[in-house]
Structure formats: C-alpha cells, structure tokens
Symmetry: C2
Subunit: 195 residues, 2 copies
Amino acid sequence: MNFSTRQIQIIEAATKRIDKFGIQELTIKNLANDLELSEAALYRHFKSKNDILLGMLSYFIVGMKEKINKIIANDSETPCEIINDIFNNQLNTFIKNPAIVSVIFSEGIFQFNGTLSNKLSEMMGLMQEKISELVKRGQDEECFNKMLNPALATTMIMGSMRMVVLKWKLSGNKTNLVKDGQNMLNGILKMMKKK
Amino acid sequence: MNFSTRQIQIIEAATKRIDKFGIQELTIKNLANDLELSEAALYRHFKSKNDILLGMLSYFIVGMKEKINKIIANDSETPCEIINDIFNNQLNTFIKNPAIVSVIFSEGIFQFNGTLSNKLSEMMGLMQEKISELVKRGQDEECFNKMLNPALATTMIMGSMRMVVLKWKLSGNKTNLVKDGQNMLNGILKMMKKK
DNA sequence: TACTTTTGTAAGTGAATACTAACTTACGAA
DNA sequence: TTCGTAAGTTAGTATTCACTTACAAAAGTA
C-alpha cells in the first residue's frame, strides 16, 4: 500500500483526467501523454489499467480514514461538533482537490468492476458507521432528539451532503461548496437538536 | 418524440444492458446480439449510438413528467400528501423497472456528453422546481415549519431519497425500497411538520 | 571501473470499437 | 405487373483499445 513518487504522479494525473473529461477518456494513451511518458512506461509502475484505478481509490481512502479517525479521537468535543468537523474537513478537501469528487462519487461507473466497487463500498460503509455512532452518542447524551433512529438520520445526512456536492459539481464548481454544505448541515442538525 | 415499436424495443434492451452490466458494456454489437439483430439493423432505427442513449433518456423523462403533473394537479390533497404521492410513485416505478434507476442516477457517466447531461439536468431541475413549490405552499399554509427555506429542504429531501435508492441499488435490489423510502420520507416530513 | 537494477523507449500485437457500403427481402400501392 | 419503401443482411472500413516485446540509457552499488 506504499506508492512510489511516480505511482502517485500517475494516480494524480488519472484523477485529474477523470475529473476533466470523464472515465471514458481515461485511456493509457491519454494518460501517458498527460505525463509526457510512453504508454509502456506506465506498465513499469502498474501492472494494468485496473490496477491504476484501484491504486487511485486506495490512495484517497487511506487519507480519508486517517483524517476521520484523528477528528473522532478528539474527545473534548460533543458528537454534534465532531460531525461538523468531519464534514467541514471533507468539504475543504473537495475544494482543494475537486478531482477527487468525481472519483469518489462514481459508484455508477465502478459498479460492475468487483474490486473497484468493493473499495468504494468500503469507504461509504466506513462513513456510515462512524456517523451513526456519533448520532447515537448524541442521542444518548441528549443533545439530539430521537425522532429518527441513528441509521436513518445518517442516511439523511450523507444523502443531503452528497446532493450538495453533486450540485456543486454540476454547476462546474461555481457554487460555494463550503457555504452551501455548512448551511445544509446546520439545517439538519438544528432539526435534530433537542429543544 | 414518437418512438416506433422497434425503437422502444431497442431503448428497453439498452436500458436492461446498462442495468445488468454497466454503460461500458453497452456496445452496438452487444445490443444487436441481445435483440437478435445485425449491428447494421440498429442504424435503420437510430442514426448513432448517442441517439439511442438520448432516446432512452427522453423516453423516461416524458413518462415521468406526465405522471408528476397528473399527481400535482390533484388539488384535493395537501402539499404534504402530494409530496408523498410523488415519491411513492417514483419508488414504485423503480421497483417495476429497476433498470431505469441505473440510467437516471448516472450523471457521472453522462457528465461529459453535452446533450445527454442536459437531458438529465432537465429532469433533476424539474423535480427540484416542483418539490420546492410544494414545500413553499406547505409553509404558507402552515403545515410545515419554516426552519429550512424551501430550496434547502428540497435538496435535503431529494438527496435523502436518492441515497435510499443508491443503497437499494448497491444491495443488489435486496432491501425493501418502498418501505425504506417511505420510512425516510415520513421521518423528514415529521421533522418539517408544524408542531 | 564493472555490474546490476530501475526506468525508460519505439514499434509492434490482436481484439474491439462505432459506423458504412452494397445488396436482399417482404409488402403495399399505382 | 411494376415500383417504392421499410427493414433486414453480410462483409467490410478506419480507428482505438489495453497490453507486450526487445532493446537502451540511466542510476545505484561493488
């Protein structure tokens, strides 16, 4: 799971290409041109195109996992604050590297490639698990009401946030993702707060 | 916008293929095999592969528009009931023809094909517009609270429902879509209700 | 300096891609 | 009976795809 610098260059070029032109335009030839390398050179660093995609997903998932775990470990904050931190962190990651979004939100594309769709499911499952744990804690500590069960509330939060990101994507990254995302999360949390 | 019976056969075969194997496996050759026709025969009915995809989207959008307008026209119901009806109708359409979901939820795939992504944006825009109108009416008639503005509430509803459908899809259509969808919508509407 | 490993290249491979040209068949109207 | 048309066929086209082979230059390392 340790990538060489050249491998990371390839992964980042592939991500940018998907972001700009879509998965259909990610070909070995195009990718090699982007990197100013020959096609054969790519096969020195990954054994197949599929391996490049797999590497790409692994690369981002590892980073995401680390950050989320670090945020959750902070036990001086309430569950509500932690949820806020997690999504703020995600939104800012997306702003900094918009290309990631195209890859992370593409279940549809990878759905029929076993290894790739497993990687994505793993990531979604991770988020679902962490968030619903936080919702449950929030309800137990009586800062959230119990109108929705934790699983349902989590699906709602994740779905709503995804929709905000999708709209940002469809606007050509013109809308203010951080503002819209915070707005959405605040609205949801307000409705979930104990009165 | 009037399709021949053969065109509809082709559209439905293409939809099923995307649903089962993904867009990458939608080739003229495969599609022709599915229909037990020669490849050239398909070009008697559509002038290009892109035209088949475009026809596919148009075909479903027209049907969706008609149904939604019919439901909204029913003025003996409250906004809340109408929203319920719209999503119930959608969920049942998905159950009856699961293949549609793969096509409708694939912005990522079509994002880089101008004409196709416009078709999809059109459909999402239509839903956004109709739902947020209903939310606004609900707030004016004081059956919804005003905690969220109509646009935000609509994004939340649509995002949450999409997430339920995505989960159904990822489960291999094993979860109970109608039950889960109703559950989600009831939860959201409960939180939005005036107390 | 001599040897090995890493990283690159040019020039291919067969298979698949969307699409086309030329021709055939079935059938209804003039 | 003749003619036009819709709907099909076979057998191609040029191009693109992921991937491979054989060889060379560079970069360590002894």
